[in-house]
Every structure is written in structure tokens, then in C-alpha cells.
Symmetry: C2
Subunit: 342 residues, 2 copies
Amino acid sequence: MLVNLLGNLSERISTKSPSFLLVIGTTDVSLIPGVTIAGATPELTMVTPAADAEYLITGTCKTIKGVPVTPDGIPTPAVLTRASLSFLRVDKLIVNAGARVKPLISFVDLHGEPGRDIRKGGVRKEVGERIIQNAILLAESLSSHDLLMIGESIPAGTTTAAAVLTGLGFDGVQIVSSASPNNPKDLKRTIVNEALARAPSDVRERIFWLSDPVLLAVAGLAIGFKGQVVLAGGTQMTAVAAIIRELAPERLRDVGIMTTRWIVKDSSANILKVSKELDINLSYSDIDLGRSKYNGLRVYERGIVKEGVGAGGALGLAMNSGIGEDQLLQKIERFYSYLINS
Amino acid sequence: MLVNLLGNLSERISTKSPSFLLVIGTTDVSLIPGVTIAGATPELTMVTPAADAEYLITGTCKTIKGVPVTPDGIPTPAVLTRASLSFLRVDKLIVNAGARVKPLISFVDLHGEPGRDIRKGGVRKEVGERIIQNAILLAESLSSHDLLMIGESIPAGTTTAAAVLTGLGFDGVQIVSSASPNNPKDLKRTIVNEALARAPSDVRERIFWLSDPVLLAVAGLAIGFKGQVVLAGGTQMTAVAAIIRELAPERLRDVGIMTTRWIVKDSSANILKVSKELDINLSYSDIDLGRSKYNGLRVYERGIVKEGVGAGGALGLAMNSGIGEDQLLQKIERFYSYLINS
């Protein structure tokens, strides 16, 4: 079931023909030990976005054997996304905002570059402007669709999101979630404070300094698209919405966030409060993976992984198209079993 | 008016939701003096595809001042394409099959490389396989649309097309047209014969040897797409169809060529005969640019430029959607006048 928390996103998108973009990138923040579990090691977080992209499009990864996993071996949420989209007739495109490792399949390049450690400035101004400009043009060119769903893959993305939110006046570290059940909030706060201490005062330059390439690209895509936009992701997407509010506030009317129940229920974060403040639609897809025969899926109910690669949005899109929870669970398990046996 | 010469392409596409891809690339064949007029000088032919892409998406070029022109200053047919598509709600994407100069806007990269002089082998086997594989995957991912229109920009593309056609048993040099009113057939025949003399006997390898990256990419896209495909181009597209017949003959059923009247009427070429032999749909868009107030457009009626950047297909798509010839001519003239005055 797709549940509306704020607004009526499920009704607004029910008759529309969607296109799904996965925006990938990296930030050197993910190399800081302890900040993210979106990769088996800090170094491997640099590969996760490329591998997620390859898995989403082809069903297997090319840059690594297997798929991206947490240090405990829990696989990427791309499994949920791919399973959900397999029921639908949806265009899928990979958009590279700036990833250290590039996918070995076709992707649209925004001519960005990998994000740097935000304590020394995340995205250079010139690069940030180019990412946004190219994203706007790209989304304009895809506006024959009346619905654009945008997912993301960028390890440590909640930390840069916390920094951007804080820089724009929100209580960033209180808002953002984590792929880990133990949200490393003290570490995030230290990084965010250090980044903020050196951030420029000009709002646009401050956003670039605190941001990663993916946040900028998703914001640009949402601004350029002529139609309804669904930001398919967790608390990171509230940072995107906050950027949009600075750059093109009139576009927020057509922007909603669609995430998972695991993000909404995360007591270490608060997506509802900030979404209310931003006055945007918020929905979540409600599926119970506790019923799964696989431990790697049951752990979602304990708050591991939670979201990513547009999983919540893809699930919601499938549910909104009449695909039942049992059908979805079966397909997710089939894809999961194929993974662990190959 | 969109005229069906073979089959009923206009009826088959009339209810469908289209996506438009412009596939760009270069071949070093265009550096051979006299072979092409798709650029003011042989060196500038390397810039033409990137500049065409930029113009199509943004309305201005970034890699050069102005737009690509012939040595006589006649501008790119991208003006016709952009004017036609401006009436329609169509997704537009640039696909780079292998261009020496890359556009300064976003594009999908097939991870190919620029084509070499076909006398020494046009596309390396490994690169050709990668282009085709990535193109198939990309088109599969775009199959929420039920119509894919594919245009091309590659100077000297008719020469490589003649080589591929000849290598696959057709009378290639007799078939292909030219952007010039004086089709340099003797030069083309010399190049084709020299390329053929050294071409491998294995069919797949022979195709790569004689080809340019664009022909392979367009063939791969047509093979991978799940729906009706319109090859928007001139005689080059018959070489694409011939490649599809070798690699995935069952796909030819859903493939048609849509071109301009100037290609169909070209007495130095023969698109009708080869299309009959390939048993594919063939249509052309009939617009009279002789009525234009601009000489740079009237010259189309004297067989200069003729086709390119999907002009014939884009015109046909607009005509098929009820846009009248007067409306189209006005828009083309407006875009043209903006160009020559800026």
C-alpha cells in the first residue's frame, strides 16, 4: 500500500506515464570511517553507485562480482527497485552527476565531477553550476513524460544532506536518517559543523560547498522537468527540496517525496517534520519484509539499509499500479535468491 | 504531407508516443578531401556532430560560433529538425556512438570510439561489440515509448554506408546519396573498394571493418527497442537496415525509414530499390522549401544538404500530427532567421 502522509501524491501520479532516473555520484565524505555502511569497506563505497546502476539496468554488476553490500553482507536496495519496476512499463536512465567509478553501461553524463570532502568544500562552484544547468536541460528534454521519478545512489549522502539542510536553516543532523540501524549522529554533527565553519555566506556558494553532486543534479532535474516530480528517496530528498526552494521555489508545487516505511519510522530521523516545513507531498510504500524467508530482506524491518536507489518510490509506483504486496514480495525474493546463488 | 512509398509507416506511427534519439559520431573518412560537405572544411567535419547535438537541444551551439555549415555556408538540417520537433511533445536524447569532439551538453555515451578510416578498418571489433551491446540495453530501457525515432549526424556517413552495403551484397555506391548536389561517386567507389579489399570474411567482422560507430549504434538501438522504430535519415539508414538483417532479421518487421523528398528524388542514388530489397517501410516528408524567402533554405530544392539530424523523420512526425506545411515553413524560417542574425 502507498500511504499519503502529506498531500495526495498517490492520486496525483496515478494516471501519469513515468520515467525513472537513477542519479549516481560519490562524495569523499564516504571515505571517512564509520560514516556509511553503503559498501563493505570505505573504499568500496566508491564502487557502490556504479554497481547499483549496472544492476538496475542489466540485473548483474560489471564493476564488481555480486552486488554492493553492507559490511555485514546485506545487499543493495536496488533489488527492491528492480523487482518493482519489472512490473511496469517505465523508461530507466542512469544519470552520472559525478562518480569516481563509472558504470560499464550507458549513462547520461552531466559533466560533473566526484564530490570532495565537504570540510574542504564539496563541489566547486563552476562544477555545481554545470551540473545544475545540464540537469535542467536534460529534464526539459524528457518532458514528454508527465511524471519523473528520481532515485539516488551516493554513499554518505545523508551526511551531505544534513550539511545542506543545516546550511539552509534546518536542524540537519536531527532530520537525516542512515542506512545503519545505529545512525552515527555524533560523527555526522562533527563533519557538518566543520564544513559549516568554512562555508561561504552566499547561499548558492554555500549550497555547493556543503553538497555532493547528486543533490545538485536531482534538484536541477526537478527544476527543469515540465510535470510532476517524485523524489524517490529518504531524508536526502528533503535537502533536495530545500535546494529547490532556494533556486526555483515555484517548482516545489509539483515535487513530492516517496520513501519507505523504514525511513518514516526511523526514530533517529524526522522526515515528516521537515517535509511539513517545506510544504511538500510525502508518501511511503508499506511492505512488510519481515515475512520474507530471507534474512537479508527481513533485516529491513530492523532498520538496516532502509532506502536507496529509489526503492521506496519504485515500490510505491508498482503498488499504485495495482501490484499487490504478495506479488512484490515474491518478485523481490526471486531477484534476491538469484543474487545470492550467482 | 507524409508520403508512404513502401508500406504504411504513417498509419503505423500515428497513435504512438515517440522518443527521438540523435546518434552522433565521426569517421576519419570525412577527413579525406572531397568526400563530404558536412562542415566548412574537412577538419571542421569533426565538430559538426557535437554542434548539431547542442543546437538540437539548446537552440545554440557551444563548441562553435554559429552552426555547422557547408563550405558554401548552407546551415545544418538540424534547423528543420528542431523546428519540427518544437510542435510536438517528444523526448529528445543525444547518444554518442563515438565522436572526436563531444558536445558540451549532457548525452548518453555508448562507450564507443571515433571511427577510423575504413581503408584500415573502421571500428575495432571490441569497440563495435560494445557499441551494439550498449545500444541494445539503452533502447530496451527506453521501451515505455512505443515509437523510437532515430536520427544521425556523422559527416561522410554515406561513404561508410556504401561500404557496408557493398560488403553485404548490395550495389552500395549506386545506392547512397550525398549532402552535395554533385555526389562524389568516383571518390566513394575508390574508398569503398580499397576498404573491401582488406575486409575480413566473417560477416560480423566485415561489418565492423566497413562501418562507422553511428551505423552500429543505430542498428543496436533498433534491435533493442521493444516497439516501432523509425530510422530518420537518408540512404545511410538502408545500411543500418542491412546490418539489422544480418544481426536480428526478425526486428526488420518493426523498422521503417522516413526521409525527405530530396533524398527520394536524388537521381544519383536509389533508396527505393534497396528498401524494396530489404522489404522495409519507406516514407518521405514532402515540404517545398522553394517557397522560402531565404536562399539557404531554397537551395534544398537544388539538392544541397537534403537530409540529416533526422530532418525527414521529424518533419514527417510533425506532419503526421496535423502540423501544416505553412506552419512548418514559418517555424523553420523563424529558426533560420534567428541563426543568421545571431
